[in-house]
């Protein structure tokens, strides 16, 4: 069950947006499609939602072939980056929209909308117009509107992309908790790796119209399949012939076996972390240390240190 997009291809004006992409999403899971802008992830989401037709390939939602079924009959909840709020309708009517077009009884609509208003913490705003809400409130309203029709799938297209950092952070925590409550199969598109790592049960990294890797956030972070995935999910530096995460390098003040010698060129403190830029014989790695580590090593620019990958560090051969 869940959602499967199988061998999907789509071109726009001769440019391949998706090239034979296959992604499967488990029922009740929260899956992130992660990748750089223009990589095809939004297109894939719109194809799953029926807002776009694939050139080839098929979409299966809860075991039912959905390709060719128009959006209105896919029972999919779609949330847009720019909210797509119905500007002429109150918050209440926005959320009630899907139920109203389904001609549900008034009492049932009222009950359901009231529940959803509570769920998204907008009880006090039922009679407001969307223009009187903040961006975060509008997006919560859009989410409630999508959930109102009890969709089998919830699709979120860069849902927090238009919000400022602080609201974005709050909303992603909220989305995670909401999903733990509601358990609707959810796919969300994002280009923000922190957002994806923090919120999703599963990630699919999409780049240049292809799936680079699929897996849990930990699996992808710790065992990236290639340098693109490694670089996209977090910082990467080069130590000798290997690519490695800058926090996966052990620093020694004295010569140590298997460690390479390097000279500290620059120290920069960012909050509680210290970035040490170094020069080794063939590369210029940088190391991420905690403030405590940096102090116990008593690092100064010009010092000579020895560097070695930490135990169990994920490394990739540099191309």
């Amino acid at each position: 069950m869940g959602i499967a997009a199988i061998h999907i291809s789509k071109t726009f004006g001769g440019v391949a947006a998706l090239d034979d992409v296959t992604v499967e999403v488990g029922s009740g899971r929260l899956t992130a499609l992660l990748g750089p802008s223009g990589g095809g992830k939004s297109t894939l989401l719109r194809i799953v939602g029926g807002l776009e037709e694939p050139d080839s390939g098929s979409v299966v939602i809860d075991g039912i072939a959905a390709t060719g079924i128009p959006a209105q009959r896919r029972n999919v909840g779609f949330v847009f980056q720019h909210y797509a709020a119905f500007k002429h309708l109150s918050v209440y009517r926005n959320i009630a929209f899907g139920l109203e077009v389904r001609k549900r009884p008034k009492a049932e609509i009222k009950q359901r909308v009231t529940e959803l208003l509570e769920l998204v913490h907008l009880e006090k705003f039922a009679d407001r117009m969307p223009s009187q809400l903040s961006g975060g409130q509008r997006q919560r309203m859009a989410l409630a509107r999508a959930l109102a029709v009890e969709p089998s799938v919830l699709l979120l297209d860069e849902p927090f992309g238009a919000l400022d950092t602080k609201v974005r952070k709050e909303l992603r925590d909220w989305l995670r908790r909401l999903h733990d409550e509601v358990h609707v199969t959810t796919i969300f598109v994002t280009h923000d790796q922190d957002e994806a790592l923090e919120v999703a049960d599963e990630l699919a990294v999409i780049n240049n119209g292809r799936v680079e890797q699929v897996g849990s956030p930990d699996a992808l972070y710790d065992h990236p399949a290639n340098d693109f995935v490694m670089g996209f999910l977090g910082p990467v530096t080069r130590l000798g012939p290997r690519l490695i995460r800058p926090h996966d390098i052990d620093v020694f003040a004295a010569r140590t076996s298997d460690a390479v010698e390097a000279k500290v060129t620059r120290l920069q403190r960012v909050g509680f972390e210290v970035r040490a830029e170094l020069r080794a014989s063939d590369t210029e790695p940088w190391v991420q240390l905690t403030r405590g580590q940096a102090e116990s090593l008593a690092l100064r620019p010009g010092d000579t240190v020895w560097l070695r990958p930490a135990r169990d560090a994920a490394t990739l051969a540099a191309s």
Binding site: G49, G50, L51, P70, A71, Q72, R73, R74, N75, V76, G77, F78, F80, H82, A84, A85, F86, K87, H88, L89, F97, G98, V101, R102, S131, A142, R145, A146, A148, V149
Partner: protein, 291 residues
Amino acid sequence: MVSQIAPAATTDRSTPIDLGEAPTQPPRRPRRTGTYVLRGIAIGYVGVLVLVPLGVVLWRTIQQGLGTFWDTISDPTVVHAIVLTGVVAGIAVLLNVVFGIGMALLLARYRFPGRRLLNILIDLPLAVSPIVVGLALILVYGQEGGWLGGLGVQIIYSIPGMVLATVFVSLPLVVRALVPVLEEEGLDQELAARSLGANARQCFRRITLPTIKWALAYGVVLSLARAIGEFGAVKVVSGNVIGQTQTVTLLVDERAEQFEPGAYQASILLIAVTVICIVGVSLIHPPEGRS
């Protein structure tokens, strides 16, 4: 007097309004002689072109007395002209609404070969002289020698032809009012409605129509004013048969030319309707600019 306090950016929603910054209005010049000269020119220009001629018509009407005014506009020929004008303008505006919305949706929502050409063609009626429009319609629909003259329905010298001519000259006003609003709002709301289970009809009625309603009202009022005031094309196409195909504008023309009474009174009627339309438009316009 225009308020100098209103920030100029209230309708701009792409950038948040910066309250700290002064509104971007041109700095006011100190009042000097030059200011008064400019004002005098502007007022004089409007006065000579608009106020004086209209004032004369009004004065002539008043001079002939309220009784004459009433007698004239209750004269059967005039009543017929008024009713005919109403019927032709009414049908034309209805057609404008239907085709205007259709054309605007087509232009704003779809990319197809010939779209640019259609875009230009829609403005054509605003540029072409109405007389030419009338002649062209006769060439196509005329009973004698017209390409489509043998359809069995009398088009030229009757109401269908007059409606056609009126639609032709007033359609662009509706289309041009709608396209910018449709383009600005984009597709997201409609796609959201579809994904929530709305069919095409529900989507149009519940989302598209409310979104464009102010722009539509604006276009309708403008095209109504244009339809009521249309003269050239209707004159050619109608044949101007008194008591049959004579609209109010044609009646004014005829009475004025023949030095028959009634021209001023009928003119005042046209002016009144136009003023109502203009006031209507200015009342409709502000909600369209709000976010």
